[in-house]
């Protein structure tokens, strides 16, 4: 049980979900982004804010995952189902962007430019420029001009040429700011009632498609509504729109920068005392195997208290090389700092150099070299943070310390886990939402470091999701994975993996990957080749007839700017289509990650699925953010499309995610935790 020295911790806090939205958070629109009702505002969500919104109106059922990617850039993936559209039901997905050009300042309003359905000229495609000014007494005034859908009511004409009809679902940028433009605006009043906001707007959206293809008949451009936030993190809205329509919204939000539990709550590190002047520099003990063994056996339980497992050790009279697994602490630098302190307490005085190499999924990553005298000179001093980073050396590690080193004797090693999962489909089978309750069992059998057998089985307990390909129909357990995996290094900076067997629910075969990623470099190159055969949907182990070869070259780039990382994959996907996937993610030092991807291939529209490309967004939230205990566990939520095109084998242990936390740039980012 966690013991708290100064602060008491109510159980309710542990059980609480994402709460504590900043007081100055703007309200949300029906599009799930900062806005009025249907119209946008120039306001931004707080940096790092993630918000999940679900909406329903007479014309649309929608869902949005919004993320404030940068302080001035709001992004959102918006999903909508419109029952009456072009003679059928429209399942639309769009990427919405809003960039704040100018902050509110004195008499000047904040100013933003925005795009709904940025990537294509689809049903919700529109562009706008909008200004918002807080005028006091809780009142904010918004005015703007829109194009596309937002330029369809009472337009003032076309300013920059004509615009094609909004029926495209392929990637298209030619429509920006073209076609009719129209003005919109509105008011937002934060009432004296805590959490209650009243809104009114003049909409420039004529709902032309809904009128043309369906029975919607707007009677007024004015919309009215109330938003209520009973407590931080949950917001609801009810609206009366267009003189005929009712709309409802619920939004759940959280922020990487506002942990529910203080990240530093727990135990402190081992205090360091410097070696005395004229300490014993005799290294003769190092020639005594019994002394070496005693030291290692003394370190093992000491490290276990911090969740650190020793894999390999080499001791000399004046140095120690340690290969360790950090099983508990979310930040590697915190683990390294605590290891260093423990070494300074436990090791003979003659040992001056500590070389610590974190091992991740059997792969040795970066060797971190710290001089004991530097540690003693820096600890508790005002400049310990920057000074310690300056004096620490980083290098690519060999995968093993080689012969003569002490090695942990744990192989073979068996592990297992049992996890419930609830996938929710927003448009599966034409229904607005359906879900499954799945029970997943996974097991691993490690034969040696790097070589393992892994399996994963899923049993559907309840559910209605139909993916349409036969794989979701199974009543019995499905085999999601049965593989032999070997992870190793070709050189200190080159990682490799070979996986063979049943790779995912749909494919079996061989998948091999190589990744070159020097630790001192902020980019890396990867190559992956998969020779696979499609599995039979109605069989536990059987295969179908389709065989294919999939190959991708990848470049990974950690920009070092606000934690943004980019990944570009180019190659041949499983259906034989050629194309590229671009993935952009923002990672926070505390482990939060929000990522989005777009895949474009040469597969024809009709074969691909929705649009000519697939897209998605995912959020990973570390449990340490919500819990007062050291853990590296996390929860992921993903939202996206899956067409026939742009698909890759669902390999669960790709190399870059395994090693990316351990390069110099990432270690530098989290170095503040070294002294914690």
């Amino acid at each position: 049980m966690m013991h708290i020295l100064f602060r008491t911790l109510p159980a309710g806090l542990i059980l609480a979900s994402s709460t504590a939205t900043l007081a100055d958070s703007p309200s949300f629109s029906l599009y799930g982004t900062a806005g009025l009702i249907d119209m946008p505002t120039a306001q931004m969500l707080p940096d790092g804010e993630t918000a999940w919104t679900f909406t329903q109106t007479n014309t649309m059922v929608g869902g949005t995952m919004a993320f404030q990617l940068l302080p001035n850039l709001e992004t959102a993936v918006h999903f909508a189902t419109v029952d009456e559209w072009l003679g059928g039901t429209l399942y639309d997905q769009s990427l919405d962007l809003k960039y704040k050009i100018m902050d509110e300042n004195g008499y000047f309003p904040s100013l933003a430019i925005g795009f709904r359905d940025f990537l294509s000229n689809g049903a919700f495609s529109s562009e706008y420029i909008v200004a918002t000014k807080n005028v006091g007494y809780g009142l904010a005034v918004t005015g703007g001009i829109g194009w596309g859908r937002l330029g369809s009511y009472n337009s003032v004409g076309s300013l920059f040429g004509s615009r094609a009809p909004s029926i495209s679902t392929g990637v298209d940028f030619n429509h920006f700011f073209r076609g009719d433009a129209a003005f919109f605006g509105g008011l937002e009043w934060e009432t004296p009632v805590d959490g209650l906001i009243v809104k009114a707007e003049y909409s420039s959206d004529a709902y032309l498609g809904e009128q043309t293809y369906g029975s919607f008949s707007p009677k007024s451009p004015f919309n009215f509504g109330v938003d209520y936030e009973p407590f931080g993190g949950i917001s609801m809205g009810a609206y009366y729109n267009y003189g005929t329509d009712f709309g409802f919204r619920i939004t759940l939000s959280g922020n990487a920068n506002r942990p529910i539990v203080a990240p530093d709550l727990g135990t402190g590190p081992v205090p360091v005392n410097p070696r005395p002047q004229g300490y014993d520099r005799n290294t003769a003990w190092a020639n005594n195997p019994a002394a070496q063994d005693a030291i290692v056996k003394g370190l093992i339980p000491l490290f276990e208290t911090e969740g650190v497992v020793i894999e390999e050790v080499r001791l000399t009279g004046n140095s120690i090389d340690l290969y360790v697994q950090n099983t508990k602490m979310p930040m590697t630098t915190k683990a390294v700092g605590r290891i260093t302190r423990m070494l300074s307490v436990a090791l003979p005085h003659s040992i001056e150099v500590f070389r610590i190499t974190p091992v991740s999924s059997s792969l040795a990553t970066t060797t971190i070299e710290i001089k004991r005298s530097d540690l003693e000179a820096q600890v508790e001093r005002p400049n310990a943070g920057p000074e310690s980073f300056r004096t620490t050396q980083f290098s690519d590690a060999e995968n093993t310390l080689g012969d003569g080193a002490w090695k942990r004797d744990i192989y073979p090693d068996f592990s297992w886990s049992l996890n419930p999962r609830i996938p929710v489909s927003l448009s599966s089978g034409g229904s607005a939402a359906s879900f499954d309750l799945l029970l997943n069992a996974s097991a691993g059998y490690r034969i040696s470091r790097g070589l393992s057998l892994n399996t994963s089985l899923t049993q559907k307990v309840y559910g209605t999701i139909d993916t349409g390909d036969g794989f979701s129909d199974s009543k019995g357990p499905s085999l999601d994975r049965l593989t032999a995996d070997y992870l190793f290094k070709l050189s200190p900076a080159t990682y490799a993996r070979v996986s063979a067997g049943y790779l995912d629910r749909k494919y079996g075969g061989i998948d091999a990957e190589v990744l070159w990623k020097p630790t001192n470099q902020n980019w890396g190159l990867g190559f992956e080749l998969a020779a696979v055969q499609k599995r039979a949907p109605d069989s536990f182990l059987g295969f179908g007839d389709d065989q294919t070869l999939s190959a991708h070259a990848s470049i990974y780039w950690d920009t070092g700017f606000h934690g943004l990382e980019a990944q570009v994959d180019v190659g041949r996907y499983l259906a034989g289509d050629l194309g590229s996937t671009v993935k952009l993610s923002r990672r926070f030092a505390n482990g939060w990650e929000v990522a989005g991807f777009v895949t474009v291939t040469d597969m024809p529209f009709a074969d691909f699925g929705e649009g000519n490309f697939s897209k998605g967004i995912s959020v990973t939230i570390p449990l340490r953010w919500t819990m007062p205990l050291e853990t590296r566990s996390s929860t992921s939520i993903s939202l996206g499309t899956s067409g026939n095109g742009g698909q890759r084998v669902g390999v669960g242990n790709r190399l870059y995610p395994i090693i990316r936390d351990y390069d110099v740039l990432d270690l530098r980012e989290t170095w503040g935790a070294y002294w914690q």
């Binding site: 020295l5 100064f6 709550l265 360091v272 929710v424 489909s425 390909d469």
Partner: protein, 227 residues
Amino acid sequence: MIRQSLLFCLALSLGACSSGGTSPVFSAIKGVILPSDEDEKPAKAPATITRARIEQSGLAIIRGRLEGEDITNILSATSLNGTYVTYVSAFKQTVTMNGSLVTATRGLGGDLLAVRNDANDPVAVLTPPKDWPTHLTRDYRFPADGPAGNVVTLDCALTRGGETEITIVELDYTVTAFSEVCSGKGVNFTNIYLADAKSGQIWQARQWVGEKLGYLNIEVLEPFTLD
């Protein structure tokens, strides 16, 4: 067949369990609402602190309490680095002081990483009250992205108050009260020191240790000396 599936997947960790034990979430909740047998063992009644016990220990000892919290804790000196003394509690949470200036906390829930003080800072360097300066500067360092963290530079104004008598674990002291108003980078706070009227040894203090933790109240039961 064209598939139009929008997957919204939530991997629930709450109910997960594994060969490594139950999920950390479950364990933590269980720890709070279902204490184990071990946790239920009646704790020993805290020993009353007496001057004799303090002297018997031979340790420098402080008593600390976060303002607004009910719990007061005893911390004893465990390491010395330069002029920085680190005190540790029974729960392995630590407070580091340079003289009487709190320069670091660990494990309390909002770590103060380090503090830089002026050479003539009377809170850090023993100074008779008559010689205390009226102005000084400090840099408070908190965790943030990068090795340097977030440095808050503050200007502080010291104001001398009157003398009073205090008693700390059976010993009476005549102390001079000082208030210290610090501001900078959107941060404002007021520290209070009760310094020995002659030597300047601070026996009681209320010190700001960051926006997350607020004020830490410190009583020096036995000061650190190199003897």
